[in-house]
Subunit: 216 residues, 2 copies
Amino acid sequence: MPGPKQERAQKTREEILRAAAEVFDERGYHGAGMREIMKRAGVTLGAVYFHFPNKEALAQAVMHEQPATIVPSLRSEGLQRLVDITLVWSHKLQSDPLLRAGVRLTSEQTGYGFDDVTPYRQWAQIMEECLVDGLAAGDVRTDTDVHALAEFLVAACTGLQAYSLLASGRDDLPERARTMWRLIMPAIATPHAAAGIDVSEEREAAVNGLTAGSGR
Amino acid sequence: MPGPKQERAQKTREEILRAAAEVFDERGYHGAGMREIMKRAGVTLGAVYFHFPNKEALAQAVMHEQPATIVPSLRSEGLQRLVDITLVWSHKLQSDPLLRAGVRLTSEQTGYGFDDVTPYRQWAQIMEECLVDGLAAGDVRTDTDVHALAEFLVAACTGLQAYSLLASGRDDLPERARTMWRLIMPAIATPHAAAGIDVSEEREAAVNGLTAGSGR
């Protein structure tokens, strides 16, 4: 069990991460300065460097924090869980600085000379776990290569946000995510399950805690 | 009909574009200089600025040149044409500087402060035309929203290359493209057509002119 000192250190680390995310989200990697992040977090520069040896380490930590920002407001399992995660992701990318900065840094990283595939792998693992559960529940077609499908879905979502960012400043991202599911669901879900998986605008609102919607 | 002067100007423009693409591909937008592009193209700096008022205009022209780089070596129509285009695209992204630079600049552009959705729209239009033909030929399911599907496929391919770049330096991109088609084809093609659409490694080789393969 962590003592009070470890808890304080953990809290400081989180404050630095969130401040860094805000600055990266607003200014990009090159525009962000360690001093501005320090001021935004309300900590000393020494505290920043204690947790993160340099700006690159801080950017990497922000990139790896993406999955932790996604918590659907409804319980769900398997294929519906996977859908719900993308509906929360597409919605929170409008407003959550930690997720926005993580995605921005991940997308733009090759321009900074970074080469970090970890954020993609993290998402692929989460998606694959949902698909494995969906297979066991009989929602996912038995002939599905769940590993390959998870890899593809991560790529698809990556591209959806890139296109949506330029097409609409990400306003249409939730709609694009729901459209994706409508288009490809017949190839993924068993005919029996397909009708029960909810990819509606109402579901999107409910999993984002915007309505009183109930779980499956 | 263009006279010799216009033809020369057009040829110079193409030489500048190709030289610019090589430099953008190697060094990214910020690392590329107009003088290096001039030297690479074997033209004067005046000739570069005659065709492109600044580096941003040159980068934009390279971004918009992507579709022109894709010419499948086999004749095909509709859904097979769409598959073939992606198989050529995934292959040429390994080697064609003009395509590589166009994709790199398009992907990284938000990091440079650009905001140009045109390359995505160009690809979506090409894909939608293939899908419309596929609908008419009875290859694409009659209930398909071809506009939405084209928009999704552009996004999916965008993400495939981004993920593949970090996962394998794009080595696995052709395989990822073929896997995408195998995964989603049941949702797109009519059952009758699905078996006839060729997404194999052999097709990939043939449309890239690497074997003597014959058209459908």
